[in-house]
């Protein structure tokens, strides 16, 4: 099967000009690939650059060298050096991202927050809201909260809204940055079951899960950034 993500010799150094040009070499020749239907867990310790890699793949950080090929519209697109409008199209159709924290748009009700990625894909407002509602229901966000902005929600509720938004559009490739970090046991089980189901349906996943138990349940394979044994 054709890989969903191929990372080749990726280098990312942060140069902090506001701190005397301090250089932090975070990614040094990372190689990695992810196929549809597998969930690859990055097993490095915290602070080693796992989130940096996910952000590079999402086009949020700009690497200095290497290639990141993401399967998009039936062909590989190199995210490194891609035009902004290409990256936006990749994000709209092919590549989803569930971050640790929800970045909220002021005033936007929860139902719309979750429906937005569907609208961006061209779904009508009614259909988008229906699918968003199903996702929120599945993650047990009480219906009375749907018309409110998630700004005031608890950490666990916000994270479930974030997962709902990330999975709503059914992207074939998902990046997961600690998707269960602030969830209690019950909510965690809900999210893990949803992730397993999504992967079995053929979605390619790459993620960080600091909790070993979570990692064991959700991932099909472990990988490390710089090739050392996991």
């Amino acid at each position: 099967m054709r890989p969903a993500i191929v990372v080749e010799d990726l280098y990312k150094t942060f140069i902090l000009h506001t701190q005397g040009g301090l250089e932090l070499a975070v990614l040094r020749g990372v190689r990695l690939d992810v196929a549809p239907g597998e969930c690859v867990a990055l097993a490095d310790p915290s602070g080693s650059g796992k989130s940096t890699l996910l952000r590079c793949i999402y086009g949020n950080y700009r690497p200095q060298a290497g290639r990141i090929l993401v399967r998009h519209r039936d062909r590989p697109v190199d995210i490194v050096g891609a035009e902004p409008r290409t990256i936006l199209d990749v994000r709209r159709r092919s590549l989803g991202y569930v971050s640790q924290f929800l970045r909220v748009i002021p005033r936007l009700p929860t139902l719309e927050v979750v429906a937005e990625p569907l609208r961006a894909l061209g779904a009508g407002p009614g259909e988008a809201r229906m699918r968003a509602a199903a996702m929120l229901e599945r993650l047990r966000i009480p219906e009375r909260l749907w018309t409110l902005s998630p700004v005031t929600f608890s950490g666990g509720e916000q994270q479930r809204v974030n997962v709902a938004r990330g999975l709503a559009a059914g992207h074939p490739i998902l990046l997961l940055d600690e998707p269960t970090a602030s969830l209690d046991a019950g909510s965690r089980a809900l999210v893990l079951e949803l992730l397993r189901e999504t992967r079995r349906a053929g979605t390619a996943m790459l993620g960080t899960f600091h909790d070993a138990e979570v990692r064991a349940v959700v991932s099909t394979r472990l990988a490390t950034l710089h090739g050392a044994a996991a």
């Binding site: 506001t18 949020n60 700009r62 748009i105 002021p106 609208r119």
Partner: protein, 260 residues
């Protein structure tokens, strides 16, 4: 080539001097259909000069600006006659000024402010004009019973929303905005931003938004230009420029923002 494969606006080498002082220097950028471009930088960085040159209010010293019309015709904007440029400004373009007084006619009613733009493009039926004015007031969340009031009696936030309605009623394809939320209270800003975001997405508008507020840029713009001393020092996807700024000046700008 279909219109979507061609930039709506294509700018090359745009330069404007004020005597010995540089306003903007050698700016090049392509704006694509449906794209919102944010221009950020501190005051005096050349943002407003650039917007003025692009929207035809300032004459640049050098450079070219090309605009692709609905019919796929590429216009050399800086070489249009005054009449041609005014027609473009009435039909395909909109300008939202920071101060609503610069974009509204304060001596006529809210309804007339919106209807006037339609009359300027040849709509004559009074009933249709009034209905369109009412529709647009609704879209920008102004109550229908204010249609016959003068803008003078409106709050700053309402005036700004009225200015937006006046601009959008003729369905422009490109809107220039200069600090659209500047001078408004924070709560009013949030409402206006939400409205702008929705309208831009629903109408598939292209826009160039000048702002010194990086939060506004993050919310509205797909792509950013960072300007300093008249030059573009960095450009890219909005979240990339804000989360991983490359140029020392962009890093300074991003790290200087107070987090609430």
């Amino acid at each position: 080539m279909s219109p979507a494969d061609r930039p709506l606006l294509s700018v090359r080498g745009l330069t404007r001097w004020y005597g010995p002082h540089v306003g903007c220097l050698d700016v090049g950028v392509d704006l694509w259909p449906g794209e919102v471009l944010g221009v950020v930088g501190e005051s005096g960085s050349g943002k407003t000069t650039l917007l003025g040159c692009l929207s035809g209010r300032l004459v640049p010293t050098a450079g070219t600006v090309e605009f692709t019309t609905r019919d796929g015709v590429v216009l050399d904007v800086l070489r249009l006659s005054e009449a041609e440029r005014r027609r473009l400004a009435r039909t395909d373009w909109g300008v939202v000024h920071q101060n609503p007084r610069d974009g509204l006619r304060m001596s006529v009613t809210a309804g007339a402010n919106v209807g006037e733009r339609l009359m300027a493009v040849g709509v004559r039926h009074y009933g249709a004009i009034r209905q369109a004015a009412l529709d647009w007031l609704g879209q920008v969340e102004i109550d229908a019973d204010r249609v016959d009031d003068l803008p003078e009696t409106f709050s700053g936030g309402m005036q700004q929303r009225l200015q937006i309605a006046r601009n959008l009623v003729t369905r422009p394809r490109l809107v220039f905005m200069d600090e659209p939320t500047g001078g408004l209270d924070v709560s009013v800003q949030a409402r206006l931003l939400d409205l702008l975001r929705t309208l831009v997405a629903d109408l598939g508008l292209s826009a160039i938004v000048v702002t010194h507020d990086l939060a506004v840029a993050r919310l509205l713009a797909h792509r950013l230009l960072v300007m300093r001393r008249g030059q573009v020092v960095e450009s890219g996807l909005t979240d990339q420029v804000l989360d991983d700024p490359q140029h020392p000046y962009s890093q300074l700008l991003v790290s200087s923002v107070l987090q609430p």
